[in-house]
């Protein structure tokens, strides 16, 4: 029964989306106020129906309703309840339903938190989101319906959730990621609505900024969670694989990062308008492209996925419609939009332009590296793979000018920066960061690695520039504290965003150069050295879990005579599917992780064991969290609430928020 209820709700949601896409949009052109007023309730109604459908699917999973084919494929009665719940988005159909739930959620949120928006704008924004919803709801309805039943013959028990996905990381990772992906639909809808009306002004930028930031935060957290999950769950100790599916989430992130910066310029200075619109269109298009790459099965990926040509074709068609339609609109309406406001070559505008260009280049690098194998194969040159060395090389080149500009940006003034005042600060920061980077690396690093030193220099550069910028707010006889407490939340958001990024860069540089990885053969009683510690294989024995059985290995880690950790690594075999899984044992620390995983049995009690020492690996994810926290502060900046009621011009905005990058 529950399947039918869910299915009906899903169809009703589709009807709502159709109405939402048409009525307010037509109303906005004909000037029918009551038609436009329907946008908000329709958006909320659509959310309600999708939520009912989603709840129905969750209920079916909790109740082990194996008459539903999707449940039978992805759940099992022995699964703990929280994994049953996360199994809802553990495979294709359910994760699409989650996707559409997120989209409807954003839609409903826009309809609630945009009271100050003109009716025409909100009608068009919601109508565009309705159009996107139609695309995904028809997709789900006709190619991937999660409510398809197996009646009258259904299995007694389910096939179980893919064991890799039976993990806390998976409970959180896809929802965050999807929230980010889909969140860019809001920025997209705002951009389309602005293009339709021809009004791309500071007010438009100010409305879309909090939404774009919210999407960006979710995506940042989602990617970080995914990386952390891959690190401890895949059992190889790697945290990023340049896998097509990872790249698919990384591209919108890069474009989104460029977008939040160019929106800032757009709001404060009234320039880069077309560029910003183009970025808003691209960020969402890249999210869709990512979906296409992941869902269609055209690319080889470590993330196994359902491949069905009809699905791929549908998304491809949808992709062409969205990208083609939006670019067409951009070409048609964009020419009429003029950027006013001037700036000199040495100014914050130019630096932000540089930041944008580097981010777009990075996006293109990922895009090319991801789809090149596809093109190569289609034109008959044979199958190839573009591996991590390609991406690593290009990113280690791109990050240097990027971080350099990142440090300079906040130090520069809008419009014009006099070189004379600037030079001293730059030289000071450069000298201090380079010398301290080299000294730190020489003192603490065992081997001298150029990349590690470079990473530390970049990190310190950002910290020094940020400190200089903060100190520059102290004028006259204010105390530093008084000066700092006057800074707005979005200013602190910028500071944290930049520091978080620096933290991730340092983490990436140090982890990739100073990691020690040893694959060794060990028997109980054996000891192995690992980066100054001694790892002892204590014992190994069978174990039993709720839906798996396996082998557990106990390890102790010694620093001289002192035991510093007791680690428990497992090798599991899941009963329903028979798949093998590695549960790595990790001793986590702020400055280093010790990672031990059981490889394969080698006969007798001997095992192949993976021993990793990973310095600063946590910094990668902590940096991402700090960045997202900064984004959160910026969303809650006071001016978004005050300014919404007071229609201020760009010129006023500059006066009131002078010196901010937000």
């Amino acid at each position: 029964m529950i399947a039918e209820w869910g299915h009906i709700a899903q169809i009703l949601a589709l009807i709502c989306a159709c109405l939402l896409a048409v009525i307010p949009m037509v109303g906005s052109y004909r000037g029918y106020i009551n038609w436009m007023q329907l946008a908000r309730p329709l958006a909320q109604l659509q959310f309600l129906f999708v939520a009912i459908a989603f709840a129905a699917l969750c209920y079916a999973f909790i109740q082990d309703d194996f008459t539903i084919s999707y449940v039978a494929q992805n759940s099992n009665s022995k699964l703990p309840w929280y994994y049953k719940l996360s199994a809802v988005w553990g495979a294709h159909e359910g994760s699409l339903l989650l996707w559409i739930l997120m989209l409807s959620g954003w839609q409903a949120a826009v309809s609630v938190f945009s009271r100050a928006l003109p009716l025409v704008a909100i009608a068009r924004v919601l109508a565009v989101m309705g159009l996107i919803s139609i695309g995904f709801l028809t997709f789900i309805q006709f190619t991937s319906n999660p409510f398809e039943t197996l009646l009258p013959f259904y299995p007694v028990d389910g096939r179980d959730l893919n064991p890799l996905l039976q993990d806390v990381g998976l409970i959180m990772h896809p929802p965050m990621l999807y929230m980010g992906y889909v969140g860019f639909a809001v920025a997209f809808a705002f951009a389309i609505a602005a293009l339709l009306s021809g009004q791309l002004d500071a007010a438009w930028a100010r409305w879309s900024r909090p939404w774009t930031l919210a999407a960006w935060i979710s995506l940042t957290v989602g990617i970080a969670l995914g990386s952390w999950w891959a690190y401890y769950e895949l059992g190889w100790g790697g945290w990023w694989f340049w896998d097509p599916v990872e790249n698919a989430s990384f591209m919108p992130w890069l474009a989104g990062t460029a977008l939040i910066h160019s929106l800032a310029v757009c709001e404060k200075r009234g320039v880069f308008k077309l560029w910003t619109v183009l970025l808003a269109l691209s960020a969402f298009s890249l999210s869709l492209l990512g979906t296409f790459l992941v869902r269609s099965g055209v690319l080889v990926s470590v993330h196994a996925f359902a491949s069905d040509p009809s699905r791929g074709l549908f998304i491809l068609a949808f992709l062409f419609l969205v990208i083609g339609g939006s670019l067409g609109l951009f070409a048609w309406k964009g020419a009429a939009i003029k950027s006013r406001g001037q700036y000199e070559v040495v100014s914050r505008e130019t630096l932000l332009l540089g930041n944008n260009l580097l981010l777009v280049t990075a996006t293109l690098v990922v895009l090319v590296g991801t789809i090149w194998p596809l093109i190569h194969k289609e034109i008959g040159w044979g199958t190839i793979s573009v591996g991590p060395p390609f991406f690593n090389l290009l990113f280690s080149i791109l990050v240097v000018p990027f971080v350099f500009l990142l440090g300079l940006g906040p130090l520069a003034r809008w419009r014009r920066q006099s070189m004379a005042k600037w030079r001293q600060r730059i030289l000071f920061a450069l000298g201090l960061s380079i010398s301290s980077g080299i000294v730190l690396n020489a003192v603490f690093g065992d081997v001298q690695e150029f990349h590690a030193a470079l990473g530390v220099v970049l990190g310190i550069w950002v910290v020094i520039c940020t400190l200089q910028e903060l100190l520059s707010h102290q004028h006259g006889n204010q105390t530093l504290w008084q000066a700092l407490s006057k800074l707005s939340r979005s200013h602190w958001g910028m500071v944290l965003g930049h520091l978080g990024f620096a933290m991730s860069v340092v983490g990436i540089a140090l982890t990739s150069t100073y990691t020690t990885e040893r694959d060794v053969r060990m028997q109980p009683g054996d000891t192995q050295p690992l980066a100054g510690y001694v790892v002892k294989f204590e014992q190994v024995g069978p174990m039993q879990g709720p839906n798996y059985r396996g082998t557990a290995g106990e390890f102790s880690v010694w620093d001289g005579d002192k035991q510093i950790a007791q680690l428990h690594a497992e090798k599991r075999q899941y009963l329903a599917s028979g798949s093998m899984m590695t549960e790595a044992a990790i001793d986590a620390g702020f400055f280093r992780d010790l990672f031990i995983a059981l490889g394969e049995p080698l006969g007798g009690d001997a095992w192949a064991v993976r021993l990793h020492y990973k310095p600063f690996v946590r910094w990668i994810w902590l940096g991402a969290l700090v960045m997202s926290f900064g984004g959160g502060l910026a969303i809650f900046d006071r001016r978004y609430r005050v300014a919404r009621r007071r229609q201020s011009s760009p010129a006023q905005a500059v006066q009131t928020t002078e010196g901010e990058a937000g």
Binding site: S69, Y70, Q73, W89, G90, A91, H92, E93, S95, E148, R159, N162, L164, P174, L177, V245, V294, G297, V298, V302, H303, A304, F305, A306, S307, D308, Q342, E344, V345, L353, L357, T361, V365, V368, W372, G380, W381, G382, T383, I384, S385, V386, G387, P389, F390, L393, L394, I397, D519, V520, R521, S577, G578, S579, M580, T582, G599, E600, G603, R610
Partner: protein, 162 residues
């Protein structure tokens, strides 16, 4: 030129130079880092499309099925070797390290490595897919056995879904 034009020119030039440099770098490093994909028969007979055989010392990617009964392990180290086959001759993969959890005899795998001699590849990475039923499209194509549908008999394949 008036300052406005001058500024525009500077911006445009900066963008063009930036793009040019970026494209150059991308293409250059791409050619350095591309691994061609071969099947075991292609290693021996040359690529299907071009007939070109890989050279000894070349980096490549290979995909095929692990020949049942061919996995040999060294007693003292983590050295392992196994045969890989698609529809024709068998090639040998030598690997030192830990094989992935889903590595099985008779299953499809993909390996990255260097060609040591005409039929031996020294792999530095062996990949098996997350999913038991899943076969990399490359391998499925090479083996000529495409799984159009999942084993459930309905139109859904099992997959991790993202």
């Amino acid at each position: 030129m008036n300052p406005r034009r001058k500024k525009r020119l500077a911006t445009t030039l900066a963008i063009l130079i930036g793009l040019g440099v970026a494209v150059g770098f991308v293409l250059f490093s791409m050619t350095q880092n591309i691994d061609l994909f071969y099947t075991p028969s292609e290693i021996v007979n040359g690529k299907n499309e071009t007939g070109v055989k890989p050279q000894v010392g070349q980096r490549l990617r290979i995909g095929g099925m692990v020949v049942p009964g061919s996995v040999e392990r060294d007693e003292q180290s983590l050295q392992v070797s196994f045969g890989l086959i698609d529809t024709g001759p068998v090639v040998t993969i030598v690997y030192e390290g830990i094989l992935p959890d889903l590595f099985r005899e008779g299953q499809g795998i993909v390996a990255n490595g260097v060609l040591r001699d005409a039929t031996t590849i020294e792999a530095f990475e062996v990949l098996a897919k997350h999913d038991e039923e899943y076969m990399p499209p490359d391998v499925a194509e090479a083996v000529g056995k495409v799984h159009p549908n999942g084993v459930g008999g309905d139109k859904q394949n099992q997959g991790s879904g993202y």
